[in-house]
């Protein structure tokens, strides 16, 4: 089922997408679906297992369900320290 989501991009993903965020309607059930469907936008030659996702400001699993109106934060591989 199609859901309208706010997707936010960070660091390398943001530079690749050329935007901070967008509101987009996708046929996505899980965070993994969102990542896969938006691959060309965020330039994810990086495997999903190296990336992270948050839903509505909570870190989430890739299998977490997404709901209409959710904000999905897509994080490329982190590199703190």
């Amino acid at each position: 089922m199609s859901k309208t989501l706010t997707v936010r991009y960070f660091a390398a993903f943001r530079e690749r997408a050329g935007i901070d965020e967008e509101i987009i309607t996708l046929a996505a059930d899980t965070a993994r679906d969102v990542f896969e469907l938006l691959k060309t936008r965020h330039g994810s030659s990086e495997p999903l297992r190296h990336c992270k996702v948050a839903i509505n400001d909570e870190m989430a699993d890739w299998d977490a369900p997404v709901n209409d109106g959710d904000t999905i934060l897509l994080f490329p591989p982190v590199a703190g320290g």
Partner: protein, 142 residues
């Protein structure tokens, strides 16, 4: 407490927050900006974070350290923005009754902070190029 800052980190001013009458040990870790990475000469570094979740996840790491090791206090401060060679990017401090747990907790905290917090590092090289660390192929597209 986990904090992010855009200001220069001065570890000497931070350790006093860890004092405790029961503390017999204090261990700290400082991550510094070095002038090369994987064979490329680095000019400066740029750290980006998503602060709400970096703080939340950092607090979780500090809480885990306090559960795993018998420590008294633990703090972490991470720099964001543009950093020059030699500057402190991250500071971790731990106080505890004895040294073993201070060292172990400090190590645990910095290791987890590096792999879990939504913080990204962009290297600006002497040759004019730049790249996101751990995300070479993403950057190649950008």
């Amino acid at each position: 407490m986990m904090r992010l800052t855009g200001e220069i980190i001065r570890p000497d001013e931070l350790r006093s927050s860890l004092t405790d009458p029961g503390a017999g040990a204090y261990a700290s870790f400082e991550g510094w900006i070095r002038n090369q990475n994987e064979g490329q000469a680095v000019l400066r570094l740029e750290y980006e974070s998503y602060e709400p979740l970096a703080v939340k996840e950092g607090e979780r790491v500090l809480k885990e350290a306090a559960e795993k090791f018998p420590i008294l206090k633990a703090e972490c401060l991470h720099r964001v923005g543009l950093l020059e060679i030699g500057e402190c990017a991250v500071w971790v401090g731990v106080s505890s009754p004895h040294r073993d747990e201070a060292f172990e907790a400090c190590r645990y905290i910095i290791d987890q902070v590096k792999v879990r917090l939504p913080i990204w590092k962009k290297e600006h090289y002497v040759d004019g190029n730049s790249g996101w660390v751990n995300c070479e192929r993403c950057a190649a597209h950008g």
